[in-house]
Symmetry: C2
Subunit: 348 residues, 2 copies
């Protein structure tokens, strides 16, 4: 076994604190990554505090992982020692169901093995995430990372990047389309960068008027303050696609009314409570409300390659790991532009 160290929550009430644990030995298809940076996702906080009621403790969070490979198994083909590599939200899946066969491992019928707060596919070995010094992962569930981009700013692409890239691609967002992004946080700011780079005319919908300048800097052409009823009313039937990145409770019908006929709004943030949907928001114009969750390995690699080719990264604030609890407090207040990333060299 490989001795590892990280930060873990011991219960829903405890603060994250140093934790020593074991990783498996590097198997024939595995790589060992010395983690350099790990992004901080809002879902880390939900899970650490057991807000989704599925917590497994001790919990080492983190699923936006980048670093350098220090060891490879005998049969590894995609990587060599010294390469950069990344790990996203899952580390394995059944590999045989129709979703896995289609490259949509995130929708695995047996349930994917999450990078943390989950179990390996044996359904009994707990998985530990990226708030740690290293990780052992099957090369098939690892991503190649370009050295052309600042590595710390690449980390959030592994979750925030693919979570927004995948639905934008699936619903064919591109040139000539009017696209709205709801919320300008970790996910939203990536959605704006990606959708505008795909050629769409992007509008940011936010209740924080102060974000207008940033929205436009990131690539949005328009900004609507959703507290302004007149602007909201004027935006009815305007958009070909809406990506809703907000994970707080909010009124979806307001946004559904802004969709054109035959258009879709996709949720990637998960509000804690069920959201009331008015049937009349969907029926009269054949609209749809859909959901989307991260992306498969092939698509995640495609996204990383696209970002490297188009110079797209996350806007981040780098923190030492002993600042993580404070980062959570600030994240809850929306006080981060736009993603905290942990500098793992501070774990000593």
């Amino acid at each position: 076994m490989i001795s590892s160290k990280g930060y873990a929550a011991q219960s829903a009430k405890s603060m994250l604190s140093p934790f020593n644990f074991q990783r498996r030995e590097v198997g024939p298809h595995d790589i060992l990554i010395d983690i350099q940076y790990c992004g901080v996702c809002h879902s880390d906080l939900h899970q650490v505090r057991d807000e989704w009621e599925n917590a497994i403790y001790p919990m080492v969070p983190g699923h936006e992982i980048v670093g350098k490979i220090s060891k490879v198994g005998d049969h590894v083909k995609k990587f060599k020692v010294g390469d950069l590599a990344g790990v996203g939200c899952f580390v394995d899946s059944c590999r045989s169901c129709s979703s896995c066969q289609a490259g949509n491992e995130q929708y695995c019928e047996k349930g994917m093995a999450g990078t943390y707060n989950s179990y390996e596919m044996d359904k009994k070995t707990p998985t530990y995430g990226g708030y740690s010094n290293c990780i052992v992962v099957d090369e098939k569930y690892s991503l190649k990372i370009s050295d052309k981009l600042p590595l710390e700013s690449v980390a959030p692409l592994l979750c925030a990047g693919i979570t927004t890239y995948s639905p934008l691609r699936h619903w064919k967002v591109g040139k000539g389309m009017h696209v709205a992004i709801v919320g300008l946080g970790g996910l939203g700011h990536m959605a704006v960068k990606l959708a505008s780079s795909f050629g769409a005319e992007v509008t940011v919908l936010s209740h924080s008027a102060t974000k207008e300048a940033d929205a436009k800097r990131l690539g949005a052409r328009h900004f609507i303050n959703t507290k302004d009823d007149k602007e909201v009313f004027k935006a009815r039937n305007r958009f070909d696609f809406i990506l809703d990145t907000v994970s707080a409770n909010h009124d979806l019908n307001l946004y559904l009314d802004m969709l054109k006929v035959d258009s879709t709004m996709v949720l990637v943030g998960a509000p804690p409570e069920a959201v009331p949907v008015d049937a009349f928001s969907l029926i009269p114009k054949r609209k749809a409300l859909a959901g989307s969750m991260i992306g498969g390995i092939t698509e995640t690699q495609e996204m990383l390659d696209y970002c490297a080719a188009h110079d797209i990264v996350s806007d981040i604030e780098l923190i030492p790991i002993n600042e993580i609890e404070n980062a959570y407090v600030r994240m809850l207040k929306g006080d981060v532009r736009y993603r905290f990333v942990i500098d793992m060299s501070t774990l000593s």
Copy 2:
């Protein structure tokens, strides 16, 4: 003007009663239909009682209209005197917006002119529906009706038929697909007939165990009593498409859980209250909840021709018009198999 008689509601509280009114003269593009039968839709009741808070009184309901043409305008091409003809849920639209141009007049950007409880496109001349002896309609908004089928059983196709046909076609329901129909009423029983005739393997989901035999007689292969938690649990991730025809409040998440990855559930019934949708019912398998409303003229004609070719009609109970209030009471209790149709010869 043409003197017409029918049954009208004078207010949300009044019973339907005999009413004399005027129809416009037959214009160059109009046809005059002597109405023989008119179906009774659940939405008639919602509107008569102003439950959608948009009632215009006096209101002559009815949008499942069939009859024989007694006069045609000089420029009418599609019809001649003596032909059968039908009218559905709308009698005009703007004719120039992208939805109208695409043949989706029901999604007209200016708002279609409803067959009743609405206004002509001048937005000031009220429209009166099919609980009456005749109607004047532009031939473009009229349908050709085959004489091969019992005419009284064809009437409900104009709303219940197209409301279910259109989404089944739009989402490409066909051979090899597992399709669930929620609710076995006026809409649901048409959905079962149509989906099974398209080659799908149909399951009816209903909380009335007594409907199982009927569901199978109508073409369903399977029946799930939604009060049986075990059966509901076993049906998770089973369906490629779900059509929800229920207009009472009900738990949509139960059904969303039964969808496969990348599949859609479509609402055609409109529950009076907003329905709580759990984001986790949509996100983990990229599912969608959509709406659909009747169909355009071209598609309605296609549906009528399909039904004539495949011997598909509605199961009906024929009533005299003075039984309409009693029919509403029974409809509210779900006591109709499966559509009331008014024999308009009883209007004297």
